[in-house]
């Protein structure tokens, strides 16, 4: 005899879409109300670029910046920085904290499907990145950096990068058991990685560039810089490296993710 609860079948398509919008809306609300995430994740790249622009806006092309003007160099790399912070940085820290203080367990106790939760999170992170990038490109424009022309490719590139960085963020949050350690570990990975990838200053060491070329940030920087400076054509190798890191992150995330802290 079975007395299992049963639910009438429902048109899931519309309901799921509504659920996703609902979820992204509340993620956005939580994000923008939290001064730490809003300032550190969102405002930092904007302020960084504004300061760079104020310091170097008059200077022309320079061989130190790979034949680009200072601002031409920094607009795409800071755009990548903002995507990295909004996706990887945000998720690595927030998910570890949410697990520690029981928010994930609470979510898991509801009928919200796990995939909707994660798709909602990724969509939220992409939305934050898009707003950040729009501001960064806008500031670059004010300092005389021409707007790129190949927008469809840029959008595709940014979405790919954002999704991969999100996967890496979830992976790091899954591997870190202790939420108190999460911000430190996340920063410990983030800062050197961004530095050797040429985000803060051009790197002229061939060895370092070779290493960074196999890590997820430099290929993204190069691809985006290419698109911003009018090079056409897709660099599949660069995209492949970023996507491969995203794949590794996704595998670790799926295998290791926990909703509740270890007993």
């Amino acid at each position: 005899m079975t007395t299992a609860v049963t639910d009438a079948p429902r048109p899931w398509g519309r309901r799921t879409a509504r659920l996703l919008v609902h979820q992204v809306g509340y993620e956005q609300l939580s994000f923008w109300r939290n001064p730490q995430s809003a300032i550190f994740t969102f405002l930092f790249p904007v302020v960084f670029l504004t300061v760079i622009g104020a310091l170097f806006s008059g200077t022309g092309r320079s061989s130190y910046f790979d034949g680009l003007s200072v601002l031409q160099y920094y607009v795409p790399t800071i755009a990548v920085l903002s995507v990295f912070g909004s996706c990887y940085g945000q998720l690595a820290v927030a998910l570890a904290a949410r697990r520690q203080n029981g928010i994930l367990k609470r979510i898991r106790a509801t009928p919200l499907p796990a995939w909707v939760y994660f798709v909602g999170l990724v969509a939220h992170c992409i939305l934050v990145s898009v707003i950040d990038i729009a501001l960064i490109v806008g500031i670059g424009r004010l300092y005389g950096v021409p707007l790129p022309s190949d927008w469809p490719q840029i959008v595709a590139m940014l979405v790919l990068g954002a999704v991969c960085f999100c996967a890496l963020g979830v992976a790091v949050a899954s591997v870190i058991a202790n939420a108190d350690a999460a911000p430190a570990v996340a920063q410990l990975i983030l800062f050197p990685l961004l530095f050797i990838s040429g985000t803060y200053t051009p790197i002229h060491s061939a060895a370092l560039n070779r290493v960074a070329g196999w890590l997820p940030v430099r290929p993204f920087n190069e691809a985006l810089t290419g698109l911003f400076t009018g090079h056409t054509g897709t660099d599949w190798r660069q995209l492949g490296v970023v996507a491969a890191w995203g794949g590794v992150g996704a595998i670790v995330a799926v295998r290791r993710f926990r909703w509740v802290p270890k007993p």
Binding site: M1, T2, T3, A4, V5, T6, D7, R10, L19, H22, Q23, Y26, L29, S30, R33, N34, R98, N101, G102, I103, L104, K105, R106, R108, A109, T110, P111, L112, P113, W259, V260, P263
Partner: protein, 323 residues
């Protein structure tokens, strides 16, 4: 005012709401549950009573689907909580109030509940739930600005928002002041009247006594007693406890019945209180003594509980404070 929590015509199926058979669980080499069996019937308040570390929360977490059991059978609303394919359906109909409070700090009370309500197909109205848990007037306050007790109320509200058929309450009143606790008890009784099945854990005998239809006492991962609070551990079997004080210079050895002394209070436990009392008072009159503070009581639930759980832990100490 809209009242959406009117008693729904819920059919009472024949099988129990929760069925647990020979449940085993260990963390590493520590065996937390060692063959636990119980049934929770539809419409009752069922209590898992026991000291810290007895396995109460682990049992709940297995039933909630958060932990995978090592052995035994479990059925919740007819579904296996360890089977992921039914998890979603199960969560649609179960509500949880956890020990650790986990809410987004920057969302308001109303936003927190509206967010959770959106996850269910047939939730209760947000305003009603706010009223039920006594958070009216605080709808626009952010979770981070709530006091500890108010956060617990918000957590109770999150457990109710999906209008569950089965509600898990894990130490629901830990950290409550007496008034808040009274309110929470009233709410549990109200939910029971509406037909919600409630599985409650507590280490507080008063709570079990006040709320539960049936209790199991869990200690060291096994059930040591089971029954209605009034009959637990042979409480109704006619045993009585006579207590009094003696003047200095008298020891228990001089008494006509076996007795124990603690902190100057002499206690006599007996199955025939009339006879024991007669012997005692007769002896006292002959000696010309007055038995100070003479009382006759059935053994308290607390005495039984301490006996059953081996005096391991004082029972009324909150095991965790809410963060």
């Amino acid at each position: 005012m809209r009242v959406t929590y009117e008693p729904a015509a819920r059919p009472v199926p024949e099988s129990p709401a929760v069925q647990v058979r020979d449940l085993w669980m260990s963390y590493g080499s520590t065996e937390v549950l060692r063959g636990v069996d119980f049934d929770v019937h539809y419409g009752e308040v069922f209590c898992l009573l026991g000291p810290n570390g007895a396995g109460k929360t682990t049992t709940l977490e297995i039933l909630e689907g958060f932990r995978r059991r090592d052995g035994g059978e479990a059925r919740v609303l007819g579904l296996d909580p360890g089977d992921r394919s039914g998890a979603r359906q199960l969560r649609e109909h179960t509500g949880l109030v956890l020990q650790e409070v986990g809410v987004e700090p920057y969302l308001t009370v109303r936003e927190t509940l509206a967010r959770a309500a959106g996850y269910y197909q047939a939730p209760r109205a947000v305003a009603d739930v706010i009223g039920m848990v006594g958070l009216a007037g605080l709808e626009r306050r952010k979770a981070r600005k709530l006091s500890g007790g108010q956060k617990r109320r918000l957590d109770v509200a999150l457990g109710l928002i999906g209008n569950p058929r089965l509600l898990y309450l894990d130490e629901p009143t830990t950290g409550f002041d007496p008034a808040a606790r009274r309110d929470a008890w009233d709410l549990v009784r109200e939910l029971r009247r509406e037909g919600t099945t409630i599985l409650l854990t507590t280490h507080d005998m008063d709570e079990a006594n006040a709320l539960a239809d049936r209790v199991i006492v869990l200690s060291g991962g096994v059930i040591v007693a089971e029954g209605a609070p009034s009959e637990l551990g042979g409480r109704d079997a006619g045993k009585a406890r006579i207590t009094f004080r003696l003047p200095d210079g008298f020891s228990t050895g001089t008494l006509p019945v076996p007795a124990t002394a603690a902190n100057g209070v002499i206690a006599v436990e007996t199955a025939s209180p009339t006879q024991a009392l007669h012997l005692l008072t007769d002896w006292a009159v002959r000696e010309g003594l007055e038995l100070g503070g003479l009382t006759v009581n059935p053994p308290s639930l607390e005495d039984i509980y301490l006996r059953l759980t081996g005096d391991a832990v004082p029972p009324s100490v909150p095991e965790r404070t809410t963060k």
